[in-house]
């Protein structure tokens, strides 16, 4: 009977495509918008992801997210190094700086100052040059997006494309000369400014004058050390906040979730996808059931039990759900792949697929429920009414 139930569905092509379209639309919107949301949220902690060295990030207790730096006294670095269980601790400067480009325009950049001796905290991947070249005078490394766009040089040919920065080019950072010694690639960040890396000691000379300039202390724990206990010891000894990388990522994400309208905007889009998908699917599926009511009544009269009929309807609903979900999620994935390499934040995760799949199941169940109610209430005697 279940095979026949599927044939009844698949052979009613107009209704079948209508129902599948409804589910596909919902699945596509939920998966696509969800993935963009996750992609955007992941960008908020892109810097933390790229810096895989530290076990623990130490910062001012008032810091709310990665870009919310509150400078510390340089002496805090030594206090952290003195905490039992800390294998090593290095400074990291993170701040905004104004770069003057080749065409005379100013461009704000994220400036990262890495520990002079170890260069810990450097970019994840070097496209050109070497990280060690930061030890050369006035040297900086620029990320590839910044180098090829916002910090790129003007083309001498009028109307020609910008010429990407390359090794040997110079920049003016807050009135200081800087020489590009490398081009890097890292995770995209939430902010669209170029990322510029240099040594800590050079960064504090580039940075606007402040009494305190240390942004973070990056801690490597001794092997086997319990990170939770070490965090507590650091906080107790220094009065600073200490987070594992994962905790710092969550702190950052939570800030954006709480204080920006991003979740609401995406939530509305996802909800609309769900509601519209439910309405289209529910209406089309109900209409399909109503069209078949006479035949369902016939089956009922001929000896089909309510349980079998309900299972047939659920099977039909879940079948269109699976097909619609497959097409929708597939289309969202193709969309994401086609947009890779662009500015679009898109990160499709199994959780997003599970959410989208769960939403589709709910949509199908809601659609089937309407139909099941109708079929259960159907008097088989209706078949004798012509």
């Amino acid at each position: 009977m279940y095979f026949l139930a599927l044939k009844m569905l698949f052979n009613d092509k107009a209704k079948f495509f209508g129902i599948v379209m409804g589910v596909t639309l919902a699945s596509l919107v939920i998966t696509q918008q969800g993935s963009i949301f996750v992609g955007l949220m992941a960008r908020t902690f892109g810097v933390i992801t790229d810096m895989n060295y530290p076990d623990i990030w130490v910062m001012d207790p008032k810091v709310q997210f990665i870009d919310d730096t509150k400078p510390l006294a340089d002496t805090k670095l030594f206090e952290v190094r003195g905490v039992p269980g800390v294998a090593s601790a290095v400074p990291l400067y993170k701040g905004m700086i104004r770069a003057r480009t080749d065409n005379g325009l100013f461009q704000n950049c994220n400036l990262y100052g890495l520990d002079d001796s170890t260069l810990i905290g450097g970019p994840g991947e070097m496209v050109e040059g070497r990280l060690a070249d930061l030890r050369m005078a006035d040297s900086v490394i620029v990320d590839v997006e910044g180098a090829s766009d916002k910090l790129a040089k003007k083309n001498p040919v009028p109307g020609g494309p910008k010429i990407p920065l390359s090794i040997g080019d110079t920049l003016e950072l807050n009135d200081h000369r800087a020489v590009v010694v490398g081009i890097s690639r890292g995770s995209r960040t939430f902010q669209s400014q170029p990322n510029v890396f240099t040594t800590y000691s050079r960064a504090v000379t580039f940075a606007p004058k402040e009494r305190k300039l240390l942004s973070f202390v990056l801690v490597k724990a001794e092997p086997g050390e319990d990170l939770e206990k070490l965090r507590a010891r650091i906080t107790e000894a220094t009065g600073l906040a200490a987070y594992t990388s994962q905790q710092f990522k969550m702190l950052t994400v939570n800030y954006f979730l709480k204080y920006t309208g991003i979740p609401i905007n995406f939530g509305i889009a996802v909800s609309l996808g769900f509601i519209i998908g439910t309405l289209i699917t529910g209406f089309m599926f109900y209409s399909f059931t109503i069209d078949n009511l006479k035949y369902l009544g016939t089956l009922k009269a001929m000896g089909t039990g309510d349980t079998t009929l309900m299972t047939m309807i659920l099977l039909q609903a879940l079948s269109v759900g699976c097909i619609g979900f497959g097409i929708g999620a597939g289309a969202a994935t193709v969309f994401g792949m086609s947009m890779s390499g662009t500015q679009l934040a898109f990160w499709i995760t199994w959780q997003i697929l599970a959410l989208s799949g769960g939403a589709v199941v709910i949509i199908c169940m809601l659609a089937a429920m309407l139909s099941v109610r109708k079929v259960v209430a159907l008097e088989p005697a209706v078949v004798f009414k012509g």
Partner: protein, 260 residues
Amino acid sequence: MTAIASQLGLGADPAGRALAVRCRGVVKNYGTGQSVVRALRGIDLDVYQGELLMLVGPSGCGKTTLISVIAGVLDRDAGECSVFGEDFSTMNSRERTRFRGKTIGFVFQSFNLIPTLTIAENVSVPLLLNGVDRRRALAKAKDILGTVGLGDRVNDAPNRLSGGQQQRVAIARALVHDPKLIVCDEPTSALDHETGHRVVELLKGVAMSGNRSLVVVTHDNRIFDFADRIAHMDDGAVDKIVGSAKELYGPNLNNDRGGK
């Protein structure tokens, strides 16, 4: 036995056939209070095994309600009704559904073939409901479609067949699981005279083999000659049971063209 049953000569078959359906004092009302419609007012009726009984009468006299009660798709309000000794009112919903699926075949006025399935799949439905696996059900459905002369159309959709052919498919569907009772609701009303005649001929020829019982609701007097007995209903009651249409209508046979 009620007085009416006695008047109608119910309870004993002169040919000694066993009872297939036994109804005594069956009452069915629709609605309540002042708007109540008394569809069946104490029906007494017997249907014997191997018999084709036609239920006739004017439109609204309760024919369809009566076969709905006999087929167990409608609950009666009072009285007794048993099919092969089994009373639907003593069964729960699941038992009743199972009994119906096994014991009764249905032929409907508008065929009720599922348009999105092939005719072989339509015919296989009663077998599937009785737990036969799909492959065997389809094979048996194709066999019986051959019996009704549609062996070369097994993979066609119902809408590619004529009305007469569709009704033959419906007959095949009613027979495929070898039920002991077949109820037919106006099986010829959607067909022209010649086709209707052929369909009832087929119905009688094929369905009656195997000692089955047929209850046919009709107002088509052109097929009355196929009946073993004709029960005439009026205003929710069976008022006459006769052996032939002439006994019922006499010379005015062709004038009685009432509805259901």
